[in-house]
């Protein structure tokens, strides 16, 4: 358990180099040199502290590296997401958590310059297998995006889109049922049941996001990835979505990226802290927010930077 890697007296080669450059370029006091910046600490991380692995892993990531062209965005991440568990990914902006999340249903395929290395397994199946078809994969691993992006179609058609393209239902009545149950699960049914034919883009921001969630669960995925689903919403809409996540976690495995630490604390079972592309710490959410193992995690959740 105590996989303490950071040892200021035994720096890795990279740290040494950083400090040497620092000495030659800047003339600072020794006292300042002794206290390293968060960037230096993060760059020296080679292994995650806490408990990144789990018993009944739904998704298992091993040695995941992601590059955009020459720039590396995610460094050597190992993480398990257990079945019916909510894992929150937190960390400062640009730390690679969204990039990492998008690897899990291969959404990064749409970005030409993005390159993913390592192994990501869904129920033991390698999702980066060259023979694998991404279409059924994405039906199993659904995604909700940061900005609500309902299709410019009616509310009904938005929810019916997934079942239609996957041929999940044969009769119109069945489709009606799927739409209703998905909207009910997303907590939107009562608000829109009388205007299913009006455009989805006409809803308020919070309703649009719940529509997007309904659209995702209409395909009955096994895993739902959420990329800051509440960042564009007001506190009331956020509260509704958080309630929804709690309900969804009974049936689905959820990975959620969030900037709100309170949100991570409220909705998740486990929390993973990213910094500069490194997975710094993974632990039970309660432990991360009360007694984190790593100094960077502590600094972040107490608001010392970020």
């Amino acid at each position: 358990m105590q996989d303490t890697v950071i040892e200021s007296k035994a720096p890795t080669a990279k740290t040494v180099q950083v400090e040497r450059t620092k000495k030659t370029t800047k003339t600072e006091s020794n006292a300042m040199n002794a206290k390293r910046s968060p960037t230096e600490i993060a760059e020296s991380i080679t292994e995650t502290v806490g408990k990144p692995l789990a018993q009944n892993a739904k998704l298992a990531m091993r040695n995941v590296n992601v590059h955009y062209d020459q720039k590396q965005a995610v460094f050597d991440v190992n993480l398990d997401i257990a079945e019916n568990q909510v894992v929150a990914l937190i960390g400062p902006s640009g730390c690679g958590k969204s990039t990492f999340l998008r690897c899990l249903n291969r959404m990064n395929d749409t970005i030409d310059i993005c390159r993913v290395e390592g192994s990501i397994q869904l129920d033991g199946m390698d999702i980066y297998d060259s023979k694998l078809d991404v279409v059924p994969l994405r039906a199993r691993v659904g995604m909700v995006f940061q900005k609500p992006n309902p299709f410019p179609k009616s509310i009904y058609d938005n929810v019916a889109y997934g079942p239609r393209i996957h041929g999940l239902v044969n009769r119109r009545a069945d489709l009606d049922d799927v739409v209703e149950s998905s909207l009910r699960k997303a907590g939107l049914w009562e608000e829109v049941k009388d205007r299913l034919e009006s455009p989805g883009t006409g809803l308020s921001g919070g309703q649009q996001q719940r529509l997007c969630i309904a659209r995702t669960i209409a395909v009955s995925p096994e895993v739902i990835l959420m990329d800051e689903p509440c960042s564009a919403l007001d506190p009331i809409a956020t509260a509704k979505i958080e309630e929804l996540i709690a309900e969804l976690s009974q049936n689905f495995t959820i990975a959620i990226v969030t900037h709100s630490m309170q949100q991570a604390a409220r909705v998740s079972n486990r929390t993973a802290y990213f910094h500069l592309g490194r997975l710094v710490e993974v632990n039970e959410t309660e432990k991360v927010f009360t007694n984190p193992d790593h100094e960077l995690t502590e600094a972040y959740i107490t608001g010392r930077f970020g």
Binding site: N105, M107, T110, D112, V134, V135, P136, L137, R138, A139, G142, M143, V144, F145, K147, N149, P150, F151, P152, K153, Y161, G162, I165, H166, P199, T201, C212, R215, T216, V219
Partner: protein, 466 residues
């Protein structure tokens, strides 16, 4: 001073006024504690002075130039003796032109009567007086207005507000220019068409099945009475435009989808400029390509498979013109569609992909519906080009106004007939020439209603993203 020199002088004075006004505002600002205590930046004081210098004097110049000829002329004619008017049978224009020629060309004045030489000298002196008066007036106006403004420059003067108001009116003038021109064209075409319809019944024109505008122009000529049924022309136009759109719309749309959704950026960088080159080829070049290569090829094809037993096959055909025209308008469709498809937000694509859509499902069900208005706009532009295109049709489809739907036969179009009606020496009061205006009006109405319906359809079926 010559008019051109005067315009340049106004311009130079404007620049000087700008410099003077600007430096005065800077000088004044020193007294009140710096530029930030001025109402506007020094640039605006300079611009205000320059505008006041140039615009009124230019208006004076323009008004004077418009009216001085007419005034001088009526003054000259008033001085002429009565027999002068009689000598040209009361045609005062002719008389004045003779006087003008005498005044310009002194050598030719020997044979002219005395009163004409006198009038010519009078004309000459009046013109030079007018020119000097104009010069003096314009310069006085430029200097006067700029001095007034210059003296009024003070920190409270709202120079920026006034300059911006002038520029706003200028922008408005520019935007109304195109609209006014359009209205002018429509009105002139409308009046000529009314003259035409006074001679030829609108029923015959709109529903007549035969187009043969050859008719006797003079009473002593022999000729047919001419028939002005526009149906064959519109059939030909629509046939050719339809063939062109059948080629261009699918091809252009597929090109756009390929370029925006599938092509790597390297391929895109090669194909897009090449398509734009296609749009830059002059239509005449397309025309002889159609006439010399495509049309004979189509005729030979038709003959070789024995179509001539059932259909008339002509060496000039609607199909040849339509095919080449279709290729010509592919870039319009593809370039505009490509732009609107690229404008569809990536988040919509991500949303669809995240649900497990295939790429083609994303394109068919999300991207195209969202991009529909722009795509229809591109198609409409292409259709207007196809309907208005003349050169290719003249060369490849012929001039014979056959009423046929057979694409292998030669047909003619509205625009081609307008050209043939107006080329050559024609009087502008015969139905033959006036028919061109009636055709133009009809063409305008057809494209207008086409646009209207297309917009209506788009409004109904578009899927609007925010």
């Amino acid at each position: 001073m010559e008019s051109s020199v005067l315009v340049i002088a106004i311009f130079v004075l404007g620049i000087i006024a700008f410099v003077v006004g600007r430096s005065r505002s800077v000088a004044i600002s020193q007294n009140v504690g710096g530029i930030r205590f001025l109402n506007s930046l020094p640039f605006y004081y300079g611009a205000l002075t320059a505008l006041w210098c140039a615009i009124p004097s230019f208006l004076v110049f323009a008004v004077w130039s418009l009216f001085d000829d007419a005034i001088i002329r009526s003054a000259i004619i008033a001085t002429l003796p009565a027999e002068a008017a009689e000598s040209v049978g009361g045609n005062l224009n002719l008389l004045f032109n003779q006087i003008y020629n005498v005044s310009v060309d002194a050598a030719g004045s020997e044979s002219a009567p005395d009163y004409m030489v006198a009038a010519a000298q009078h004309l000459h002196s009046m013109q030079s007086i007018s020119r000097w008066a104009l010069t003096g007036l314009v310069l006085a106006c430029a200097l006067g207005t700029s001095i007034v403004v210059w003296s009024r420059i003070n920190p409270q003067l709202k120079a920026r507000y006034q300059v911006e108001r002038v520029f706003r009116s200028f922008l408005f003038l520019c935007s109304s220019l195109a609209i006014l021109t359009t209205i002018g064209i429509v009105v002139s075409v409308l009046f000529e068409s009314i003259r035409f319809f006074a001679m030829v019944s609108p029923i015959d024109f709109l529903f007549g099945l035969e187009w043969s505008p050859q008719m006797a122009i003079r009473a002593d000529q022999e000729g047919s009475s001419g028939s002005f049924g526009a149906i064959p022309l519109f059939t030909g136009t629509l046939l050719i435009a339809l063939i062109a759109l059948i080629i261009a719309v699918p091809c252009g749309l597929m090109t756009a989808i390929f370029l925006s959704e599938y092509a790597s950026s390297r391929i895109r960088d090669i194909i897009k400029p090449m398509l734009e080159v296609l749009a830059g080829i002059p239509t005449v070049v397309y025309g002889f390509f159609a006439a010399l290569t495509v049309a004979p090829f189509i005729r030979d094809m038709g003959l070789s498979i024995g179509l001539d037993q059932w259909l008339p096959i002509s060496s000039e055909s609607a199909l040849a013109a339509g095919l080449v025209m279709g290729v010509m308008i592919i870039p319009f469709v593809s370039s505009l569609s490509d732009d609107v498809i690229n404008a569809v937000p990536q988040s919509l694509r991500d949303g669809a992909l995240g649900l497990g859509s295939t790429r083609s499902e994303v394109i068919k069900q999300v991207v195209i519906p969202a991009a529909l208005p722009g795509i229809v706009g591109g198609v409409l532009l292409a259709a207007s080009r196809a309907i208005g295109e003349t050169m290719i049709v003249v060369m490849a489809a012929g001039l014979a106004a056959n009423l046929t739907l057979n694409p292998l036969d030669s047909v003619t179009t509205v625009t081609v007939q307008i050209v043939t009606l107006l080329v050559g020496d024609q009087e502008f009061d015969s139905p033959k020439t006036l028919a061109a205006f009636a055709l133009g009006l009809m063409l305008f109405l057809v494209t207008l209603s086409l646009n209207y319906f297309a917009l209506h359809i788009v409004k109904k079926y578009r899927e609007q993203y925010d």
